[in-house]
Amino acid sequence: MNPTEHLTSRLGGKVLSAYQACGDEFVTVTPESFREAAEILHRDAGLITLSDLAGVDGLHLGRTPRFEVVYYFADYRSTPAQRLYVKVALPESNPHLPTISDLFKSADWLERECWDQFGIVFDGHPNLRRILNHEDFVGHPLRKDYPVDGRHVLRRASHLE
């Protein structure tokens, strides 16, 4: 069974769509079932690496729900490596997802980055702080309604406690 079949057989109707884009497999799941999907991929399908995580703000694409998070799961041990892209759509108000940083160590920083840039909250994350921007930064700069020339003057030296 390939990873997509693992997901469709176990989650059934919670897999909203499965398609190919430029030759890569994409799967869309509901936010409620995402945690379960990640567990299935990690435990049963052998995709033990979360290789990337990208947020997308669909404001100018007219998407409802507005946000989308794209997870890139992979198994680099097999030849050829298995890859699966899992997409989750999130609403404009209070977008949040369960964290998977307990399953995938790389999710720790990747989720922090997504929170920093898009304001998507990862419930249960042990250390959801800003990572690329300053701690006092206001707003989430990769959202499409954030002004491109927006500037802050931040005087406080950042600290690590």
């Binding site: 430029c22 890569d24 690496t49 680099y76 160590k105 990572i131």
Partner: protein, 421 residues
Amino acid sequence: MSANASHAMDEREPLPPDAEAPENLPDHPAPAAVEHPVTVNIGPAHPATHGTLRLKCVLDGEVIVESKAEIGYLHRGFEIQCEQVPYQHVIPFTDRLNYLSACMNNTAYCKAVEKLLGIKIPERAQYIRVIVDELSRIADHLICNGVAALDLGGLTNFWVTFYPREKIYDILAKLSGARLTNAYTRIGGVVYDLYDGFDDDLAACFKELDKGLTQVLKLLQRNKIFNDRVRNVGIVSKETALAYAWTGPVLRASGVPYDVRKDQPYYHYDEFDWEMPIGAKGDTWDRFFVRVEEIRQSMRIIEQAVERIPDGPIMVSDPAIALPPKKQVYNSIEGLINQFKLVFEGIRPPPGEVYSATEAANGELGFYIVSDGSKHPYRVKVRAPSFLHFSAMEEISRGYFIADAIAILGSLNIIAGELDR
């Protein structure tokens, strides 16, 4: 590569892919049990960080019991900048990701857009990309290995590696006009063809390189101090490396045979005769010598590519993608219209999304691009290998001496431009 600590180091045979993960991981002291903790701050501006990153360590004597990494000092909003400009204008931005091997970032980005457009670039352009990419990889590895030993006090090694590296930059400068930020590829091909005398320059460069590599091995392989400093230091198991999504030489040093060039071959990488070096233990020694071996393999690839490179165009001929030749622009109305149309309207890939991966010097460099059909990319996400490598730093430096943390950091080759984007 020899896994045991004996001095039979000349046999650096690549180990079989299923090499066992190391068992003797160091014992970590419990952070709570430290009587007099000392906090030491490394960076953001520290000679050993080679960029702006910060590591705050809690020490028990000389041993790191806890550390916190902070990044973002070189964050310049790469991804949002990409959304503001047409597709072609992103190429110079990508130079500044991993600025030690700029050509590879150009290739990675252009390959992603080409995948989105569904086009295939001409054969000659593919071979040229292979040649400049592998040259960049060699330069990148030379810098990494040069400064890795420099951080441990081996200054001579730095000169030995930087001399051939300058030769490579001379070639790239002659080829692209720029020494460091080359911006050499274009969507649909490359901008300049190989110049006359390229082969001679390459032969002279390889001679220097060969000499340099021999000197590096003679200097370091049996050097007692170097051995003590890097062997069994910063051991990263297969499991840890995979959990942190490591790729590239550092993953291969940990014993996982994954290379995008082998896994999803592009630009004829499957037709070249080359091997993938694999480490046995995943320590700093392995990471150092996997890079040395990769330089040798890249030289092999370049030699074969130069031999096989066909004649032909270096850009696609599609007028919606490639600018017309200047002769046509100045002498025919069609050429002029074509030039204006492309400059003003830009390249417009169909709406959709694409993820494209290439093997850059540090690992899998991926571009996730969302297109809305306009001339600007709607969203560009970079899968930057350094970001994922550095995220493991807190864990893998724990339990080692603070001087070892410097050795580990050097072997990870963290490039701040790519880390912070």
